[in-house]
């Protein structure tokens, strides 16, 4: 399975990617929403995108809306991974088309629980 990890913090990208790789994912990083769209447009369409909210150039919410506007990317599961923790923010992200929401700080188990809920936990070979 493939995951796109979108965060403007390199340290956070590494943390999320290493958790996902531990579960068996192949990952690619992107520093903001626009860079992530470039990855999708070049044809690398992931099963999952983990998306920070506050990023330069294109934020996470804009990225979610952009992905949802393209029918060919409908199968990409969108999971916000962000410090934004207000009730209204979560509602806004879900309304824009995000499937799940993880609030920072989080544990590897929290990511694992969400992947299980979404049916995105890879089966060991």
């Amino acid at each position: 399975m493939r995951a796109l990890v979108i965060d403007d913090s390199r340290a956070m990208r590494r943390i999320v990617a290493s958790i996902l790789e531990g579960f068996g994912y192949e990952t690619r990083p992107a520093g903001h929403g626009r860079e992530a769209l470039d990855v999708l447009e070049e044809g690398w369409v992931p099963d999952l995108a983990c998306i920070d909210w506050n990023m330069p150039v294109m934020d996470g919410l804009q990225f979610v809306s952009a992905v949802r506007a393209v029918p060919a990317w409908r199968q990409v599961t969108l999971m916000m991974v962000t410090t934004e923790s207000e009730h209204g923010q979560i509602v806004k992200a879900l309304a824009a088309g995000a499937h799940e929401y993880v609030i920072k700080p989080f544990t590897a188990d929290a990511i694992g629980d969400k992947l299980s809920l979404l049916g995105l936990m890879p089966v060991p070979a």
Binding site: E86, L94, V102, I103, F106
Partner: protein, 276 residues
């Protein structure tokens, strides 16, 4: 400088926990005793777990004894833990109960080792979302050995880290509100749940009858005679056509032959065998 727990101290803790909760701590669990009791030792200003045990053995204090037992009874939990028993509830069990009961008749559910309440509130959320009138019709009894866990269940408040553990985001926004740094379950769902202290190894108070019992990841801590006794008591407070859910690693098979294992959703449930 902390002192390691001597064998005699470990044995004494094992006997205490077994006497108070029927939970068996296997040899080799010294690390667990050390890790779980260290915070209690620190709270009392003691250098280590050995000193804590020494103090309680020399001068028994009920509050401290209780603190030790509570610290050693596992409280790990998360929302939708092992999802099958929950999908089976809405997919199989509740439709069967609706067919068997009069319209509007209460549906009674027991979360028998509720920890901080995630299992009871998971059930409440699922039924509130799928069964019309659930908030008045469904009654969930949540019990735990630990007073602290019962208080947490009653409060219905969860930390950010706790809501991150397997609670679907759409359910979070539908059923919780933010209170400071925590999330609080809605009053309508909280009133579906009645929480109280209960020791499964002691004689049960007046309870039930229950349509559904969740007794998950509890039997694994008991020896075979205690498992059999707990299952016997559970059967007494269940309706004859009730449903019992155990943990994925638990079974009644070879322990108590008065249960029938039935496929339920993607997993299994246990039902009282007729005539037993």
């Amino acid at each position: 400088m902390t002192t390691a727990l001597a064998t005699s101290g470990f044995d004494w803790v094992c006997q205490l926990v077994r006497r108070e909760s029927a939970i068996v701590l296997a040899p080799g669990k010294e690390y667990l005793v050390e890790a779980r009791l260290m915070p209690l030792a620190r709270q009392l200003g003691l250098p280590g777990v050995a000193e804590l045990v020494e103090r309680v053995r020399a001068r028994p204090e009920p509050a401290l004894t209780r603190g030790i037992v509570e610290a050693l009874t596992t409280n790990e939990t998360s929302w939708f833990r092992d999802g099958d028993p929950f999908t089976a509830l809405t997919g199989t069990v509740v439709p069967a109960l609706q067919a068997a009961r009069r319209p509007g008749e209460p549906i009674t559910i027991w979360s028998a080792a509720c920890s901080s309440g995630q299992e009871a509130y998971t059930i409440a959320m699922l039924l509130a979302d799928s069964l019309p009138g659930a908030t008045s019709r469904v009654r969930i009894t949540a019990t735990d050995l630990s007073r602290a866990m019962v208080d947490r269940t009653r409060a219905g408040r969860f930390s950010q880290l706790e809501v991150n553990r397997g609670l679907p985001a759409p359910m979070l926004v539908r059923h919780f509100s933010r209170v400071g740094a925590e999330w609080e379950i809605s009053p309508a769902l909280r009133q579906m749940v009645t929480a109280s202290e209960l020791n499964l190894a002691a004689p049960l108070p007046r309870l039930g009858p229950f349509d559904v019992v969740y007794l998950r990841n509890v039997l694994i801590y008991f020896d075979p005679p205690t498992k059999r006794e707990v299952l016997r008591k559970v059967r007494q407070v269940m309706r004859p056509d009730g449903w019992l859910f155990l943990g994925a690693a638990e079974t009644t098979l070879g322990v108590d032959d008065s249960w029938e294992r039935v496929p339920c959703g993607r997993g299994s449930a246990y039902r009282p065998m007729k005539g037993k």
